[in-house]
Symmetry: C2
Amino acid sequence: VAYAPCDDITGVFAEVEKGRADYGVVPIENSTDGSITDTIDAFIGSRLRIINELLLRIRHHLLCRGERAAIQRVYSRHTVFGQCRRWLASHLPGVELVEVVSTTKAAERAAAEPHAAALASSDAATAYDLPILVHDVQDNPHNTTRFIVVGDPGKGAQPTGNDITTLMLSLQHRPGTLFESLIPFHDAGLNLLRIESRPNRQKPWEYLFFIDVAGHVHDPALAAAVERLRGSTSTLDVLGSYPRAVTALND
Amino acid sequence: VAYAPCDDITGVFAEVEKGRADYGVVPIENSTDGSITDTIDAFIGSRLRIINELLLRIRHHLLCRGERAAIQRVYSRHTVFGQCRRWLASHLPGVELVEVVSTTKAAERAAAEPHAAALASSDAATAYDLPILVHDVQDNPHNTTRFIVVGDPGKGAQPTGNDITTLMLSLQHRPGTLFESLIPFHDAGLNLLRIESRPNRQKPWEYLFFIDVAGHVHDPALAAAVERLRGSTSTLDVLGSYPRAVTALND
């Protein structure tokens, strides 16, 4: 398999949509920092579906060529800053945080500039020959990120008995529809794992809902619940049914 | 009334908690970019409650002393970048986006550095004597931010007939509790306006839920629904009942 890095999440979706890659791997949720909204939003208007998920334990280190006291600027991704917020506030207060598109880019900048550091992985430290000044600066020692594999709709996974189905929907504009939309799952004994709302950029103060429910869309009970759901939704897409990741891999 | 600016949302909460300010005003949700998670997370472990809300129409401009073609770096807040993402991608592709704590700080930096610009308000342009190179670069022309006023619990508002109650809760760890937690509101005919989940930083992959429901906690029906809710929650806080903002003020 050939791996091709992309600058950002939109870029990963674009490469797969254009057929230049068979699959894309993007982060969707972090155990400390919550949803990665760029990924959620990328499904709006995309034909791509979720094929699989994986959990990766994530460690961040402070990479810097100089002394800690001389650091004036730290480079990293926004989500990484979110996962190290308390550590940064207590150990590097007032230092400028510069958001770049990837932690690789952050290490590259820290290697090139005086008084600059990066929050990045040990691989990035090796690649740019940067010393690790402080190990494991993530606030939560069990910091884990859930990644999803996206691909064309035909590539969906078969049921395994321990699956997740992700739905994207917007509701009809009348009171009570948010609750109504959940009734079919409850009646079918299906466990709701997660509800995320994102602004509908076409309509101010209306939302798109992203719902994770335990089960596979090939299960008759779940398929029937999805059909019932159409009664209270104005749009409804099944973003995918895929095996649930049970153990976290190491970074 | 004396106004005191703070560097960030955590700072606003801290000033009010320490009694150095009677009230704090913080953004909680933007019509384009969604929830402001720093504000949601600030309620975890805080005694402050929501006293009021207000809607403000938000305009962002590109402030720069030089030519647009010479811009190498743009300063702003993360949320502002989120609200101008499409404009930036099509008009300033590849330019470095530097996250700072406020748009005031962004204008200050753009005024001091060559090849730097800021996304900020017209007030910031005036304050730092920066020309507005491009007006209204927000992707959504109706870009509106919902702010809340936070204060001590005793300062809550009386019912007005058009109120919102915000609840923060964590669920008992068994299947079906997310749905169960919504039943009392549905049974009481109360409209759920919004559900937001945030990671529970103490427990990986468990969530805190923030629920907005129409009504005031002094309404008997809502008070009874909240009491019923305790059956499926492991923690439950009423973050406040306050009058619903109906019209957006101009920036």
